[in-house]
């Protein structure tokens, strides 16, 4: 199926099995150098990604490392049933989806916007400086960012609360309040990753043919129209691909960040699949259970990616496969 489009030129209306085989061989021979180019990458994926995949089957076992995968007893969907029948499943699902969707909604567009703004800067020097500054927070670990957040927002000595008090307001419990926990996570994420996220878009924008802008200027298109009609379409496929891939890990919200910001007072809104797996699976040495939850998350991701990819293809995009 994948090979139809080009090969049909050979003029066979209804390919028999035999002639199909011939076509395949012809294609292989014709593109042998192309196959040579992809060989190392393909080999890598088969060796380092697919050989260890057997690890997934332990989701259906009561895996004991000592007995190994061959001796460990099979339990079918027991771990999945246990996971789904957990009375907190809904809560975990809600929190995970809420944080993920909020990040998708508010964080995802920002790097695009920022790179468009950067692209509009006339001064190359200024642009260089801003670019080099905004991508730096990516390099700070969540531990450091959690520390800085504490300095800003704590009740005992946080700067923001000090300001509130001096303005005559009461202190606010930012860090232990369920109402603003999700927003806080999103803001942290925006601060840390927006600049880093522009890199890929700036690279895509750099590929735009300058003549297009010239032509647009001749036609009297203003900057907004140029951005809309030239720049944005140039990075559209990157945006679409990133978006689809993000949907793939919609069940992951970033363990470290949540784990560090979570505390007893907010755990009703903070507990997500990742923190749950850490607590119930990893810390307890429950390999099979952890794997089962991971598998569930992956399957959900896969379904979303397939759906999103279908939609993207319908709109004439290349998509992710």
């Amino acid at each position: 199926m994948a090979m139809q489009s080009e090969v049909q030129i050979d003029g066979l209306a209804k390919p028999t099995a035999r002639s199909r085989w011939k076509q395949v061989m012809y294609g292989l021979k014709r593109d042998k150098y192309l196959y040579l180019l992809i060989a190392p990458g393909l080999l890598f994926f088969l060796l380092f990604k697919y050989v260890p995949m057997w690890g997934i089957v332990i989701a259906f076992q009561n895996y004991s490392p000592y007995m190994g995968i061959t001796e460990s007893p099979w339990v079918g969907f027991e771990h999945f049933i246990r996971f789904f029948s957990n009375q907190d499943f809904y809560l975990l699902f809600r929190n995970t989806m809420a944080i993920s969707l909020l990040k998708l909604l508010f964080f995802f567009p920002l790097p695009i916007l920022l790179s468009l703004l950067l692209n509009e800067l006339r001064s190359a020097v200024y642009k260089k400086w801003i670019q080099s500054i905004v991508y730096m927070p990516h390099f700070l670990s969540w531990v450091i960012i959690a520390g800085i957040t504490f300095l800003l927002l704590s009740q005992s000595s946080g700067i923001v609360n000090k300001m509130l008090v001096s303005l005559g307001y009461a202190k606010y419990d930012f860090l232990t309040n369920e109402n603003n926990f999700w927003i806080m996570l999103v803001i942290q994420n925006i601060w840390k990753e927006t600049g880093w996220g522009t890199i890929i878009f700036l690279a895509a924008i750099a590929g735009v043919d300058p003549q297009l802008y010239e032509a647009a200027k001749m036609d009297g298109a203003n900057r907004l129209r140029q951005a809309w009609h030239i720049t944005l379409p140039a990075i559209r496929s990157v945006i679409v691909i990133l978006f689809i891939l993000r949907l793939g890990d919609i069940m992951d919200v970033g363990f470290e960040q949540v784990f560090l910001m979570m505390n007893g007072a907010v755990s009703n809104v903070a507990d997500v699949f990742e923190t749950y797996v850490y607590r119930v699976g990893i810390q307890q040495g429950q390999f099979s259970f952890s794997t089962a939850v991971g598998l569930f998350k992956s399957v959900v991701g896969l379904i979303l990616v397939i759906l999103a990819n279908k939609v993207a293809k319908r709109f004439g995009e290349e998509g992710v496969y």
Binding site: M1, A2, M3, S5, G27, R30, D31, Y33, L34, L37, I38, P40, G41, F44, F45, L47, K49, V51, P52, M53, W54, G55, I56, I58, P65, L114, L117, L121, A124, K128, I133, V134, M136, P137, F139, L140, V143, I144, I145, G147, L151, S157, I159, I199, A203, A204, A206, G207, V208, D209, R223, I241, L245, F259, T291, G294, S298, L302, V320, Y321
Partner: protein, 293 residues
């Protein structure tokens, strides 16, 4: 050409907004650097609210740089960042380019194959066993080969190559080049922005190598910088509680904040320097336009 008033207004607003964004991102970084040069006692006294230290001190840096492992670790990390990035870029771009050619048979199947590796991971133990069986334990190659390329980057990079027109190769093929020749002589030079971006991603990834080194490298003389630095600052904040943990901690030296920040600066400064050099490749309008025209 004359600039319209609205255009000028937009420029002014844009400059201001970006300046604001710059300040917002810069401030915490400024804080990290300042704390790294502060005396721990002053940090404690001010309860962390240090905006300008009364006296500057290099003690934290002296301590971190004094260890014998430091020099080695920097070399290892540099090796990973340079050699690893080069290999990764070649493998990733070649693979992505191949997949971007629509005539390639089985390309959709291969794309799906790659996509699945993004979504499904096998956990900790199977990869360890693989690395062991390949005889890579204790070898720096265990920090490169298992992360040589990634599905994310292959799929993203492919989208960059998608826009390279087939006609370009065809003309070259007529001149007697093979696909490999076309790739190296025509496609890569046209894709400098993409190479710069993905090169940065890989370089940062290799430079930050940490966890794989914990698992795969027993010989500490082969540990990368991040691991060596973190060993000096045992971080209790993500450790689980419990009596035993508390008692193990009692014997440790909880690192001062100033030391932590110095480690952050040391660990990130070299890689931060890479970006400005790559930046020129992000300049608008590479050759592609001229070739097409």
């Amino acid at each position: 050409m004359k600039r319209s008033i609205s255009g000028r207004l937009f420029d002014a607003a844009n400059i201001t907004v970006l300046a604001l964004v710059g300040i917002l991102t810069l401030f915490p970084l400024y804080y990290v650097v300042v704390v790294s040069f502060t005396d721990p006692a002053e940090y404690i006294r001010k309860q962390g609210y240090v905006l300008f230290p009364q006296s500057w001190t290099f003690d934290s840096y002296n301590y971190l740089l004094s260890t014998s492992a430091f020099k080695n670790a920097t070399l290892i990390s540099a090796f990973l960042a340079i050699v690893g990035t080069a290999l990764s870029l070649v493998v990733t771009s070649a693979f992505s380019y191949g997949l971007s050619r629509k005539r390639l048979q089985g390309r959709r199947f291969m794309m799906l194959l790659i996509l699945i590796t993004i979504l499904f991971g096998p956990g900790l133990i199977p990869p360890y066993l693989l690395v062991r069986d390949l005889g890579l334990i204790n070898s720096v190659w265990s920090l490169i080969l298992p992360v040589l390329t990634s599905g994310w980057y292959v799929i993203l990079m492919k989208s960059f190559f998608d826009s390279i027109p087939v006609e370009l190769e065809e003309s070259a093929v007529i001149d007697g080049s093979t696909d490999i020749g076309v790739f190296f002589r025509i496609v890569l030079p046209l894709s400098l922005p993409a190479l710069a971006a993905f090169g940065l991603f890989y370089a940062v990834g290799y430079w930050n190598t940490f966890f794989n080194a914990v698992l795969y490298i027993n010989d500490y003389t082969k540990w990368p910088l991040q691991l060596v630095l973190r060993n000096m600052l045992i971080d209790s904040s993500t450790q689980a509680g419990g009596t035993a943990a508390a008692e193990m901690m009692a014997e440790q030296n909880i690192p001062t904040e100033t030391l932590k920040m110095a480690a952050v600066v040391i660990a990130t400064f070299p890689i931060l320097c890479v970006y400005p050099f790559l930046q020129k490749h992000f300049a608008k309008g590479v050759m592609l336009g001229s070739v097409k025209g």
